[in-house]
């Protein structure tokens, strides 16, 4: 392992230089074994999410009270849960929930964080101060606390509002639960990204080509879009991909705590919450109830982390 790692990039240095920056990035990523495995898992994760209805053998909410808590078998590859639902189907649909949340929250973060960070960095002064102080306020709440607070307090209010305004269907089908999770995570996540983009912009802003573009009277928006953002794009992508793991993790926590997605809509978090109590005392007969969703959850979060880490390494290649 060790020799493969140190030797490979050195040998292929010339090769890399010949290609486009994106190809170089990709090649570096592929050579990083854990990151590549991470990439494969992440791809699999999204594919399973897209084809959940094709892949799952049963409906995710079909109960069979005569067959509860059956261990994995040919009929139910991952066993059945405490209401006799097929665990595998629930996990597959849980993948879809998770992917849905991950993508939408990333989009919200991107749409809020990048423009706000770019504006703050480029203009500086009062605008910068305002945006960054709002970010500070969000940072003042430790960890996921603010997310938990929002999810716990806003959810009932949103559900009530929806029911009162003819959107009861949305509340009933659970789509609003997704909306609340996405809102709670999206509202917080942008601050980190904005800080990061701002720093990137500040770093690029003083480079010669930007300074010259500005001095020749190119409009501000053009400077940001044409010159500054493209240079900051790669680190932003890294930042986002590392954030995805955290979002998946947070969604799992929210649903585990009961303030995220509600059963029967499956989420890895609520699957674990529903089964944890049973597993607890029935070890080892009921290992699958917690270990299968727990392992899957762990694997996906790790895959995202390794991919992000690999991307990070690939972007900041070896110095010497």
């Amino acid at each position: 392992m060790a020799s493969a790692h140190t030797a490979l990039p050195r040998q292929s240095k010339i090769n890399l230089r010949a290609r486009s920056p994106w190809a170089q990035l990709f090649m570096r990523l592929v050579r990083n074994v854990p990151a590549f495995i991470g990439l494969l898992f992440v791809l699999a994760f999204f594919l399973v999410a897209i084809f959940a209805n094709v892949l799952s053998p049963y409906s995710y909410d079909k109960q069979d009270l005569d067959n509860v808590e059956k261990p994995p078998s040919a009929l139910h590859l991952a066993g059945t849960d405490t209401l006799g639902r097929d665990m595998l189907s629930r996990l597959i649909y849980g993948t879809r929930s998770s992917a849905f949340v991950v993508l939408l929250v990333t989009a919200v973060n991107l749409l809020l964080g990048v423009p706000l960070g770019a504006i703050a960095g480029y203009f500086g002064g009062a605008v910068d101060n305002f945006i960054m102080r709002v970010a500070d306020i969000l940072f003042a709440f430790p960890g996921l606390l603010f997310t938990f607070l929002i999810a716990a307090t806003v959810r009932p209010a949103i559900l009530d509002w929806a029911r009162a305004n003819g959107l009861g269907d949305l509340a009933r089908t659970g789509y609003l639960d997704y909306a609340v999770v996405i809102l709670a995570l999206g509202l917080i996540g942008w601050a980190g990204l904005a800080r990061f983009v701002r720093a990137q912009v500040l770093a690029v802003k003083e480079r010669e080509y930007v300074v010259s573009a500005r001095s020749t009277g190119v409009p501000t928006s053009k400077v940001i879009l044409r010159h500054i953002l493209p240079n900051a794009l790669a680190p932003i992508i890294v930042m986002l991909s590392m954030g995805m793991g955290f979002i998946a993790l947070s969604e799992g926590y929210l649903s585990f705590l009961g303030i995220g997605l509600q059963p029967p809509n499956p989420s890895w978090g609520n699957i674990m919450a529903e089964n944890a109590g049973r597993y607890w005392r029935r070890y080892p007969e009921m290992l699958w109830l917690v270990f299968i969703p727990g392992l899957l959850f762990t694997i996906i979060v790790l895959a995202f982390s390794f991919l992000g880490d690999g991307l990070n390494e690939a972007l900041n290649p070896e110095i010497d």
């Binding site: 102080r133 306020i137 003042a140 606390l145 307090t153 955290f246 926590y253």
Partner: protein, 271 residues
């Protein structure tokens, strides 16, 4: 640098003000009302109205907020309404704070003592097997979901499962290390704190390792260090000194990350 710090300090009260408004509003307009919770299923509209009036919940937001913040500034955080009826909130916090701080401090010490050298080494020997394993382990440590780790660890730590030592016939269990079972805080020399501190310091180690490693790589990449290295000067000195500022930053950031870490351990110990 000094000017920057002063500017940030001036902003601190403003940030704190908004944090307090948001928290207060979430509490006030969040689900339910303390009076309803207090009354449970015995509520009558009359009783609800009477208690809302006694507690001032019928006042407009700004009146309630001013009342709260005015008292809070004088060190009076009000009285608990539901969970610890009539107990001063400040006292409830003060009772718990020492335990939280001891746990965090211990985890912080273990975390820095292991995390900083590991990070420096990994940075110095970038892409070696050592770096590779440190990086992988720290990544796993930061991203493993606690809701999965806890059932596993609690199981391992349970007294019912005996670990048989291969070199002797004696059996032992990790049961004494199981936190919270005794229901009393026995100080940091008790075995009960092993699990929370383990989990908490794991996070510290992972974060510090990653930060120190990134910092090392950053420094080693700088021109003067390269020159110094080429000339054969003492790498460690130049590298470490130039990192002094970043170190300061890292340590200043600790209180914040300590809080979020401790949440992790609280969750761990309540599950």
């Amino acid at each position: 640098m000094a000017a920057h710090i002063i500017r940030r300090l001036i902003w601190l009260p403003v940030v704190l003000f908004f944090v307090s408004v948001i928290t207060f509003a979430l509490g006030l307009y969040g689900p339910g009302n303390p009076v309803t919770v207090m009354l449970g299923l015995h509520a009558t509209p009359d009783t609800i109205a009477r208690l809302n009036q006694e507690y001032g919940f019928d006042q407009p937001f700004h009146v309630q907020y001013l009342h709260y913040i005015g008292n809070a500034l004088q060190g009076n955080f009000g009285y608990s309404l539901v969970k610890y009826r009539d107990q001063p909130v400040g006292r409830l916090i003060a009772e718990r704070l020492p335990v939280t701080m001891q746990l965090n401090l211990l985890a912080l010490i273990i975390g820095s003592v292991l995390g900083i050298p590991l990070g420096i080494l990994a940075g110095l020997y970038r892409n070696s097997w050592f770096d590779w394993s440190v990086r992988t382990l720290s990544l796993i440590a930061v991203s493993i979901p606690i809701i999965f780790l806890m059932p596993v660890l609690l199981f391992v730590f349970s007294r019912q499962h005996e670990i048989i030592l291969s070199f002797s016939n004696s059996k032992f269990t990790l049961g004494p290390f199981l936190p919270m079972v005794a229901g009393r805080w026995e100080g940091i020399f008790s075995g009960k704190i092993v699990l929370p501190v383990l989990i908490e310091s794991l996070g510290f180690i992972a974060i510090l390792t990653r930060q120190m490693r990134a910092g090392m790589i950053d420094v080693l990449g700088q021109d003067y260090v390269r020159t110094a290295r080429a000339k054969g000067s003492w790498v460690c000195r130049s590298a470490v000194w130039s990192r002094a500022r970043s170190w300061l930053k890292i340590f200043l950031a600790f209180p914040a990350s300590a809080v979020s870490r401790s949440k992790r351990s609280i969750r761990a110990s309540t599950m």
